[in-house]
Symmetry: C2
Subunit: 224 residues, 2 copies
């Protein structure tokens, strides 16, 4: 007799993530899952990326937070479609929440979807959302020892944006040591050094992101 | 027929936490659960608190991290008994891990037990460990909007230590607005402003903590 093996909850998340991916691909949308500690500057990187790419790329945003819509309000001021997900206590986004958000975005008018995850260096690393790229925002004042403490997160991402480099003169942070540690954990990760306050490094990061989209962009719809 | 209702996992955590509390009280140990984002400065606050109180108070430390023993090694240099818990992926400490750690500490020689939780503003707020006091370390470069985004954590603590005030000249952070927001969420929370880099505010914080211990200290064992 055949034994049925039921899939677990992570399996369910993966199935929905695959559906999200199909939907994104059908609309030629490149989706980025942005993860970080609370306060590392996810929203600032989102805003700077919008400013850097907005002329040639139509951007949409999903904001994930336990509560509040502060970040979505900031993003909406950039005249970009945005959906806020409030997880109501959950410490990470799951694919099913992104699925709901996708149903509430004008997918035909988006080339690049920035998904800002809940501020947390642990759980978000375990849940795929259907994204094409995983990015970690680290920040200088957090300290250079974080790769040792959160290895799964540092290992799981395609790119690492080290934010707040304008604070390097004021805190202990060994950039070379940090970079070496990250490369030891995750040799494939691209590393960018930026300051969302001064704008330093943003163009390099945004150009790389744009190059990763790697497909002809839909014609930009000029606002009427 | 009697229906048995089984308790859930949180119930189990609470039961073990209660046992930890009994054990701590039996040894006249005052235990503090220290929570924060990654990189807010939990270990720095632990080290500064040790330095401030070490002359009159015998301190022990439990370090919680997903992996590595970096923090425990730093603490051990202060000549203080320390146990590292590696959660192996879990994003918070649970009472059962603290129970194991207590079995590995010289309880008769400790007045104050500092428990450094995993860096995370979400899940640790949901798990009591048997502690007498919950403390949140916030930090200036994280930004002043965190109370809106992580309300359970800000609501659950007895004291909030705002660290890295030496960085106030270099980042946007409205101290009055932040304090007001915290008080709206949690009127009972004591708020301290400190810099572990310059030492500013540490004495005030340490004196308050000492006053909260509120019981005759065991006679300090002088090292031989």
């Amino acid at each position: 007799m055949e034994i049925k093996i039921l899939k677990n909850i992570l399996g369910a998340n993966d199935r929905i993530a695959a559906k999200n991916r199909e939907l994104l691909d059908a609309h030629k949308i490149f989706a980025v899952n942005i993860m970080a500690s609370p306060g590392a500057g996810k929203t600032s990187v989102v805003l700077q990326t919008i400013r850097a790419l907005q002329d040639g790329v139509r951007i949409g945003v999903i904001e994930g937070d336990i509560s509040s819509s502060i970040d979505a309000e900031l993003v909406a001021k950039q005249d970009v479609p945005v959906v806020q997900i409030n997880t109501g206590g959950e410490c990470h986004l799951e694919a099913v929440q992104v699925q709901d958000a996708l149903n509430n975005l004008p997918l035909a008018e988006i080339d690049l979807l920035l998904i800002e995850n809940v501020g947390n260096l642990v759980c978000p690393a375990e849940f795929t959302l259907g994204e094409h790229l995983k990015v970690l925002i680290a920040s200088v004042p957090e300290g250079d020892d974080k790769p040792f403490k959160y290895p799964l997160m540092f290992n799981t991402v395609d790119a690492l944006v080290l934010n707040k480099i304008d604070l390097l003169p004021y805190v202990k942070f060994n950039v070379d040591g940090f970079t070496k540690t990250v490369k030891n954990i995750n040799a494939k990760a691209e590393i960018f050094k930026v300051s969302c306050t001064t704008g330093e490094g943003i163009t390099t990061w945004a150009k790389w992101l744009n190059s990763r989209m790697g497909k002809p962009l839909k014609k930009r719809i000029t606002s009427t």
